[in-house]
Symmetry: D3
Subunit: 112 residues, 6 copies
Amino acid sequence: MIREAVADLPNVEVDHFRGLLADFVRTRGAGVIVKGLRVVSDFESEMSTALMNRSLSGVDTVFLPSDPRWSFVSSTLVKEVYNLGGDVAEFVPEAVLRVMRAKRSTPRPAER
Amino acid sequence: MIREAVADLPNVEVDHFRGLLADFVRTRGAGVIVKGLRVVSDFESEMSTALMNRSLSGVDTVFLPSDPRWSFVSSTLVKEVYNLGGDVAEFVPEAVLRVMRAKRSTPRPAER
Amino acid sequence: MIREAVADLPNVEVDHFRGLLADFVRTRGAGVIVKGLRVVSDFESEMSTALMNRSLSGVDTVFLPSDPRWSFVSSTLVKEVYNLGGDVAEFVPEAVLRVMRAKRSTPRPAER
Amino acid sequence: MIREAVADLPNVEVDHFRGLLADFVRTRGAGVIVKGLRVVSDFESEMSTALMNRSLSGVDTVFLPSDPRWSFVSSTLVKEVYNLGGDVAEFVPEAVLRVMRAKRSTPRPAER
Amino acid sequence: MIREAVADLPNVEVDHFRGLLADFVRTRGAGVIVKGLRVVSDFESEMSTALMNRSLSGVDTVFLPSDPRWSFVSSTLVKEVYNLGGDVAEFVPEAVLRVMRAKRSTPRPAER
Amino acid sequence: MIREAVADLPNVEVDHFRGLLADFVRTRGAGVIVKGLRVVSDFESEMSTALMNRSLSGVDTVFLPSDPRWSFVSSTLVKEVYNLGGDVAEFVPEAVLRVMRAKRSTPRPAER
C-alpha cells in the first residue's frame, strides 16, 4: 500500500521490521531518522522518542516541518471521519483509499 | 439528561445524530459550529477538527473561551473522580448527577 | 489602508479608537469581539485578553481558526522579512504593500 | 518494588490506597501533594488534577521540576521500549528492572 | 507597597535585593524558592529559570498552581488595561492601586 | 569568537551576512537550513520561520533536538545571569566567555 503510494519516488525504499526502530536503523546502517512535525502536540512526544532513540542507539532524528495546508490532517482524524462515512479522498493517497474502501465493504467478523 | 439541564434556556434545542457532525450541521441548515475552549491542550485538537469540518462541509467553527473558574473541569476528570467515590456535585448539572447516581446503584453486568 | 483592503466587503466597517477595546465595543453597541487564532502561542494571550474583556465590559470574544495555509504568517515575521529586503507580496494585501513600499523609499529622519 | 528502590531514603514512606488521592491525603494528615513536572504536556493535566484535588479536599499540590537529563523518560515510553526488546537499565531503578525481567520470562496466560 | 498588601500575613517577610535570586536565597539561608504558575506559557520560562537556579546555587524551586479564577490576570495585562483607562480595582491589592493612581495624577516629565 | 569555539570542527565554516537568511542560503548553494530545538516555545516561532523560508526561497529547514541536559540554557537567560553577576562558565564556550569578560571590564560609554 505504501509501496504503491511512493512508486514514483525512485529514491524511497519501503521496508518493515519488528522490535525497536533504533535497532532497525542500526541494522540498515542508516545514519539518521527523519520525522515530520505538524503541530505543537506532536512535538513533545516526538522529541522524547528522538532523545530515547539517541540514548538507545546513538542515531539522531531530524525533523521536517510538514506543509501547513495539511497540518490538521492526522491519521486518527482521517480514520474517524472515514468511519463516520465522510469523504477522505483529499487527505489520503489513492492506494490507501482503495484498501480502506475494500475493508469497509467486507463485514468485519465481529459484525456478522 | 441534557434536555433537562438546559430546560430553562428557551433558545436551546437538543438533538442527536449519527455520522459526521459536518453532515448533521448541513442537514439542519446551521451556519456555524460553536465550541468551548478550556485549555491549550484542547486547542490543537479542536483546531484540527474545526479545519477538517470546514474542509468537509464548508461550515466554520467559532470558539468561546470557557469560564476560567471551571477550566480544570473536564468530563474525563469528573468521571474519574466520581468512579473513585468523589463528590462531583459542584461540577455537573443536577440532571446529569441523578443519572450518574442511578448508574452507580445498579451493578454492571460484568460485576455480578 | 485597511479600508482599501476591505473595500469589496460591503458588510465590513473600519473604525479607529483610543483607549480600551472593551469600552469601544460597548460604545458601538457591538455584541461580540471576533478574533482569528493561528497557533498555540496566540491562544493563551488571546484567551487572557478575552477573559479580561469579558470581566471589564461583559462583552464576549469568539475565535475563528485562521486558514492553515497562512498559519505561519504573522505581522511581526512579515515586517522582519520586508525590512531585510524580502518579497512579501504574497502575504499582505495590495494596499498595505503600497504603503510599505512608500515608507521604504522615503529615508527615515534618523537615517539621513 | 518501590520500597526497595527507596530503601536508602530514611524519610520516605511507601503506602498504597484505594479511592481518591485527595481522601487518602486527608486520612494521613498530609499537608501537601508533591508532583514532578517533566514537560509542557504534563503540565496541563497535572494542573487540572491539582486544582481538582484542592477543590475536593483543600489540599494543595506543589510541583518540582524534574532533572532535564531525564525529561524524555516517561513510564509509557520505557514500557514500550522494553516490550520491543530494548535495554532500559539506564532508565529504571534496579528493583523495578528485576520485576520487569521476571515478568518477561514467565509466559503470559494468553500466550501459552 | 507589597509590605502593606501582606501586612495581615504574620509569616510573610518582604525584602529586596540586587543581583541573582540564587545568591540572595543562599544568603538568607532559604531552602527553597516558591513560584506561582498560571498558564502553559509561564511554565517553560519558569522551568528554565528554576533549572538555572538549581544549577547556580543548588536551591530548588517549587511551583504552586494559581487560582484559576485569576489565571488570565498577568501584571503586563493589568498595566496595559490601566494605561488605557480601564478599571483594575478587581485585580490588584488596595495598596498597589493607590500607588498606581498617585503615579497617574503626576504628569510624567516626558509629557509636560 | 564563534570561529574560535568551533576551531576543532574541520567540517564547520563560519560566515556572516546581511539581509535574509533565505537569500544567503541560496547564494551559498546550501540545500538545507539546520536548527536546534530546545523547548516547545522555540518550536512555534522556528516552525513559522522555517515555513516562511521555504515560501521565500524553496529551502527546507530541518530541526535537531538539543541535548536535554542543556534544554534550560537560552542565550537570553545566560546574558541575564551574567549581567547580575552569576557564573556562566558552564554554559558558554571558552572563547565567548573571554569576550563577555572583556566587555564587562570596559565601562560602557553610557555609564561613564
